[in-house]
């Protein structure tokens, strides 16, 4: 039984910088702090005074890995503030590009960060150079999967990171459809590799269960990362515009990022692939439902490790959905919808790979950003992560310190946190813990 501190200065195989401090006395956890350490860059302040047309590209710099999510949420917020209604083609191409983001981002998390945990090794660098080794096969699967995800975004929006083509009202440049057959062929080819990944994360026997509440977007028509309203475990449903009222920000004095709780009951909640799969599995592509049938039976689940499995299934969903779009779309010549600027407020909510992402833009009649607000998924998950860790440490405190450190990192990684995202925003009503 331990007394004293257990510290992780730098949690590895995550995006950004975070640490953990646990104080133990008399065999119980006296204090536990999950500390997000990335320094703030104050993007929501820095964007003020810029013309709205320049804002999405600037704000995509909030995050490297989910820059497309920030780009699309910002564009949506601005479009709503300006009363711009997009064409069907624009929305379909955004959906296709977003599938590319999800495939690449989930695969990075699952194979580069989580797979070493599954294989009980430190790093993908330790996987033997043996073609018969399952780790070797899975790692090389991941290269193909990540690459097709990136290439979808390269073709449709010009880049996987800080993409140049999307703009409020449409696209500055339309994709070259002569590249679609190659994407289709490669998407078909990786399907067995994606299924091998799903099986791997399904058979990984890890569990940490806690009664969390969940939040995600749902639109009742299809499994959609961009459009819908926000639902929670109690069936409460709010439109995107009301999301901000749904929760309260909480200043966590030792962390560079705020946390969030529900504004009515002050309880924590979880966002991300687990929430999406728990609520929306009925909306998956029919081929995904068929091929992933036995894995889908697990959901709804309150095991945080099933966030990994949910991401693996979402890769398959995005492969199938991309195939449907690529096989059927005929690119028509279109230019972005432009209107004279108007004063207005708009909200854009999307499902980033790691959960709900909210952008709110206030624009004046000259088209200049007057105020901006962002709520990111890792901030929302922060208190939930801490509470999961408290449960784990309290139930396993007799274990060796190195085991506790290792397992704590696995729990944090399962959330797929992104600290770079989490530290850029200032909220209005905050509460000091």
């Amino acid at each position: 039984m331990h007394n004293g501190d257990i510290t992780i200065d730098n949690i590895t195989k995550v995006e950004g910088t975070a640490g953990l401090e646990v104080k133990v006395g008399n065999g119980t956890v006296k204090d536990l702090k999950f500390i997000i350490k990335d320094y703030r860059r104050f993007y929501t302040e820095a964007v003020k005074g810029k013309p709205f047309i320049a804002a999405p590209s600037f704000l995509s710099r909030i995050c490297g890995t989910c820059s497309v999510a920030h780009l699309f949420a910002a564009i949506e917020a601005i479009e709503k503030s300006q009363g711009i209604k997009n064409t069907e083609q624009t929305m379909l191409l955004r959906r296709l590009a977003y599938n590319g983001l999800m495939i690449r981002d989930h695969a990075l998390h699952l194979y580069f960060f989580i797979l070493p945990d599954v294989l009980n090794i430190d790093s993908i660098l330790d996987i033997p150079e043996d073609r018969d080794n399952l780790g070797h096969t899975l790692l090389h699967d991941s290269f193909d999967i990540k690459k097709i995800g990136s290439d979808i975004t390269n073709v449709v929006i010009g880049a996987a990171i800080h993409a140049p083509f999307p703009t409020p009202g449409g696209f500055l440049q339309l994709p070259d459809s002569s590249k679609f057959p190659d994407l289709i062929s490669r998407l078909e080819k990786i399907r067995p590799q994606v299924l091998r990944g799903i099986e791997t994360f399904f058979t990984w026997d890890k569990s940490l269960k806690r009664n969390s509440d969940y939040l995600c977007l749902r639109n009742d028509k299809d499994y959609n990362f961009i459009e819908g309203s926000i639902i929670n475990s109690q069936g409460k449903r709010v439109p995107e515009e009301k999301f901000h009222d749904f929760m309260k920000s909480v200043v966590i004095p030792y962390s560079q990022a705020e946390g969030y709780v529900f504004s009515d009951v002050y309880e924590d909640y979880l966002v991300g692939a687990l929430a999406r799969m728990n609520f929306n599995k009925d909306l998956l592509n029919k081929r995904t439902k068929k091929d992933a049938e036995k894995y889908l039976e697990i959901f709804p689940s309150n095991n945080i490790y099933h966030n990994n499995l949910a991401q693996a299934i979402e890769i398959l969903q995005c492969v199938e959905d991309s195939l449907d779009i690529l096989k059927n779309i005929e690119i028509k010549s279109e230019t972005p919808i432009r209107k004279p600027p108007q004063a207005g407020i708009g909200v854009g909510v999307v499902e980033a790979p790691r959960g709900i992402l909210y952008h709110k833009a206030q624009i004046n009649d000259k088209g200049i950003i007057e105020d901006y607000d962002v709520i990111v998924p890792t901030s929302q998950n922060q208190i939930n992560i801490e509470n999961d860790l408290k449960k784990y440490f309290n139930e396993n405190i007799e274990k060796d310190k190195d085991v506790l450190r290792l397992e704590a990192e696995k729990i944090i990684r399962a959330y797929d946190p992104c600290m770079s995202c989490a530290t850029n925003f200032l909220k209005i009503n905050w509460t000091l813990l």
């Binding site: 195989k13 995006e15 580069f112 430190d122 790093s123 690459k147 990136s150 770079s420």
Partner: protein
């Protein structure tokens, strides 16, 4: 017998880590080839057991926001024969250094609270304002052909093939 490998470290400071993501994308094509010639000695995105000792080349992404980060990059410099600044924030300080341009009226009470509560330095600085930089890969994210050329240059400099 295994030949000499280029010992590298990859580090991130204040930024969005877009170049780290791009680096992990480059592994899709180059993993097998690079594993033969590169010792990934300190890459937090890929491994837990990291070491700072005797780096041939340190690739540093991000701007420097605090005394703690300043100490961090100085420590890397002491342990690395060469340092390469990666991406716009390391090379120019921007866009992570946007707060350097804030007018006093823009420093509201919440910004002030974070600035005082944590060890933010007065200004966000680019890497070469803090340590000697041997090479730069500009871009947001980094320019891949330039990065590949610089990596190749150091492989040749250390006679690794």
């Amino acid at each position: 017998m295994e030949g000499k490998k280029l010992s590298i470290g990859w580090f991130s400071f204040t930024c969005c880590e877009d170049s780290t993501i791009l680096f992990t994308e480059l592994l899709n094509e180059h993993f097998d080839e690079w594993k033969k010639v590169i010792d990934f000695r300190h890459v937090k995105a890929l491994k837990t057991k990291n070491s700072l000792e005797n780096l041939d080349v340190a690739f540093i992404e991000g701007a420097v926001s605090s005394k703690k980060q300043e100490d961090g990059v100085k420590k890397i410099r002491q342990n690395a024969k060469y340092v390469v600044a990666i991406g716009s924030c390391a090379c120019t300080g921007m866009p992570s250094g946007s707060r350097n341009e804030f007018a006093k009226s823009e420093i509201n009470e919440k910004i002030e609270w974070y600035m005082k509560h944590f060890d933010y330095s007065d200004k966000v600085r680019k890497l070469e304002d803090v340590i000697k930089v041997d090479d730069r890969v500009n871009g947001c994210p980094m320019n891949v052909p330039v990065f590949m050329n610089i990596l190749d240059k150091y492989l040749k400099r250390f006679s690794i093939s």
